[in-house]
């Protein structure tokens, strides 16, 4: 075990795989511009390259390289920057295997940060996970701890399908214990971050620590919340969520995105179809307000879910 920041764990996951597999590439903007760059120094300019500001070509090139047997990891920095290349992400990478009747594989990892509600204003703060979640052929992972950041990256690189790997900017420097040596976290296995029998809280990314803080608050009131972190939203481990609801009968879903752009709506709909009988209260979502993110600090804080709003929602489903 080593204690390291979340962002260092992401890199550790890439290093782990680049060391063991020469077919892994890592490229994107503003990296490897000098030989001192850790990755180019370790793996050479064939495998680690800086690109121009050309996301459509970057992701498209990754697809072609992957079809030829390589495993590219594309550094995209911010999820929004994928929007200029959205066709490559949702209508190229996940289609080629299918349209060719299984002749090709497209093992690429699209690495991007999201949710940077720290004064980055309207165009750089989005929580865009739901845009990718429902695309057949894509997988989507959203680590919330340093250990998962490393283990999910490694699994993403070994996966034979296109994976959108979304690390949360607000967690960048959060430290955590990370297993040394080879560490892999399976896709489609949710983690119960806190056990409890009164209510189920489901959250991803930065909303996980906020939900845990709310659970702490509620514990003082004698309310025992179970906090579940799906870790990957495609594939989604619905089973773990449903099992918890069978026990608690109550659920609050927390998402940093606006309500109709949220991952939680997808989960709520699945619960409403599969666990109607177990539910003792409405399924409540705590999401961002339906707004572009404001720059000014108090306004930004005002529109994003916090522990108070999460706790209030829990009290409501317990009424």
């Amino acid at each position: 075990m080593a204690n390291m920041p979340y962002i260092a764990a992401v890199d550790a996951g890439i290093h782990q795989e680049m060391r063991r597999d020469p077919s892994v590439l890592y490229f994107g903007q503003n990296l490897a511009t000098t030989e001192n760059h850790a990755f180019v120094a370790a793996y050479g300019a064939d495998r680690v390259r800086v690109t121009p500001i050309s996301e459509t070509a970057e992701i498209g090139i990754a697809i072609g390289a992957a079809m030829s047997g390589l495993r590219p990891v594309v550094e995209l920095y911010m999820a929004e920057f994928m929007l200029v290349a959205m066709d490559q992400v949702v209508n190229e990478a996940p289609r080629f295997r299918y349209m060719s009747g299984g002749q090709v594989k497209v093992p690429i990892v699209l690495k991007a940060g999201y949710g940077f509600t720290a004064g980055w204003a309207g165009q750089h703060t989005g929580s865009l996970t739901a845009l990718f979640m429902g695309v057949p052929g894509l997988k989507v992972v959203v680590p919330s701890t340093a250990a998962d950041a490393k283990g999910l990256m490694a699994t993403a690189i070994r996966d034979d399908n296109p994976v959108v790997y979304l690390h949360h900017y607000m967690l960048t420097l959060e430290h955590g214990e990370v297993p040394d040596g080879e560490h892999l976290v399976p896709f489609g296995k949710a983690e119960i971050r806190r056990a409890g029998g009164d209510v189920t809280i489901v959250a991803t990314g930065w909303m996980v620590p906020r939900s845990l803080a709310a659970a702490e608050l509620l514990a003082k009131e004698g309310i025992h919340a179970e906090v579940i972190d799906p870790r990957t939203v495609s594939p989604l481990d619905l089973e773990t969520i449903l099992k918890s609801i069978d026990k608690t009968g109550r659920v609050v879903l927390v998402d940093q995105a606006p309500r109709h752009a949220s991952v939680t709506a997808m989960i709520a709909a699945d619960i409403a179809e599969h666990r109607f009988k177990s539910l003792k209260a409405p399924i409540i979502q705590v999401t961002a307000a339906d707004t572009t993110i404001p720059y000014s600090e108090p306004l930004e804080a005002h529109v994003i879910p916090d522990e108070a709003r999460i706790a209030a929602a829990v009290r409501q489903v317990l009424k």
């Binding site: 697809i63 390289a65 052929g137």
Partner: protein, 341 residues
């Protein structure tokens, strides 16, 4: 300078041109002879035979080609079975892609045809990515990226050519300039064309060689693309080749919802612009009879041999259609089989 092909090779080239033409004519006929078997949107390569064959005649083991929805010609030249191609276009179990891809997405990885995107320009970076893999493997292989004149107006074209040049990727960008993007002429949508310049000028923005070639002359294309391929194999980087062709059929079959029988309308030059003369001039320049004439004149081929060739190919394509019509539909479960590896 790449050498001009031997007489035998020229006959092979002519044969492939005939096969593409015959295949596309069979596809077109199927709309009327087998109503309903072809669905969606089908795009034909008739008129581009010389360009396709001239470009692919340099193809080696380990090389790769990628193209667009207008993709029937390439795999045929690379050795794909016309039966499997036709079955794919008919959506059958014996199709090249098991009936999942259809006419726009023919793929035959074993023969180096890695696939197509139906999104204009989107396949260009895929080709560059394949080229990166080949560059790393250092076996002197190249990638051919085929796309149209209209695609040069997509951001993907611009972003990719810059990187390909910067990284000296072993790729040749073959732009088939057929003068049209559906019903829009090149001068109506391209600033270079509007200024009377060749589209190959765009290469300057990428510090890359750009050449324009008569795409109706398979030997001229062979030479131009051959030089570009030599350059790429030698690690000197990509080239943009503008191959001027004329699409002899309409952009594609009519676009209509189920219930309306699909068919091929007249070429846009006539149907939309009323320029029958332009179209008839194109017919007079048809690369297939033109090359036949050259080969017969040079003595490489006798008229009788040429007719035999054509007859054999007509039979080959009839068999392909017969096979495809008889091929069963895929099992329903297979619809969910290939979303994930």
């Amino acid at each position: 300078m790449s050498q001009s092909p031997t007489p035998e090779r020229q006959i092979w080239m002519f044969t492939q041109m005939l096969r593409i033409r015959a295949f596309e004519e069979s596809v077109k006929r199927a709309f009327t002879e087998h109503p309903g078997v072809i669905r969606g949107h089908t795009h034909l390569a008739d008129g581009a035979e010389a360009s396709i064959v001239g470009s692919l005649s340099h193809f080696r083991e380990g090389d790769a080609a990628l193209a667009t929805y207008r993709c029937h010609g390439y795999p045929l030249v690379l050795g794909s079975d016309p039966k499997a191609m036709m079955a794919e276009i008919f959506g059958r179990a014996d199709g090249l892609c098991k009936g999942l891809g259809g006419s726009m997405h023919l793929t035959d990885v074993k023969r180096g045809f890695l696939g197509t995107s139906g999104i204009v320009g989107a396949g260009i970076p895929h080709a560059a990515g394949v080229a990166w893999a080949l560059q790393i493997r250092k076996k002197g292989n190249v990638v051919l990226s085929f796309f149209g004149d209209g695609a040069a107006k997509q951001g993907a074209f611009h972003e990719t050519l810059n990187i390909a040049s910067l990284w000296k990727l072993p790729v040749v960008f073959v732009m088939e300039n057929n003068g049209y993007n559906v019903v829009t002429t090149t001068v109506q949508e391209d600033a270079n064309a509007a200024a009377g310049e060749p589209l190959a000028v765009k290469a300057k923005a990428y510090a890359m060689p750009g050449v324009t070639v008569d795409g109706n002359d398979p030997l001229a294309v062979h030479a131009a693309v051959g030089d570009a391929i030599e350059r790429a194999r030698a690690g000197k980087g990509p080239t943009l080749v503008e191959s001027k062709v004329y699409r002899l059929s309409a952009h594609g079959n009519i676009i209509a919802p189920p219930g309306v029988p699909l068919h091929y309308p007249e070429h846009e030059a006539i149907a939309v612009f009323g320029k029958r003369e332009e179209y008839e001039a194109a017919l007079r320049g048809d690369p297939v009879p033109r090359f036949r004439g050259i080969l017969v004149k040079s003595g490489a081929l006798s008229a009788a041999m040429a007719d035999d060739l054509a007859a054999g190919i007509a039979k080959e394509m009839q068999e392909a259609v017969a096979f495809a019509v008889k091929s069963p539909f895929p099992k329903l479960e297979s619809a969910l089989e290939y979303n994930y590896a």
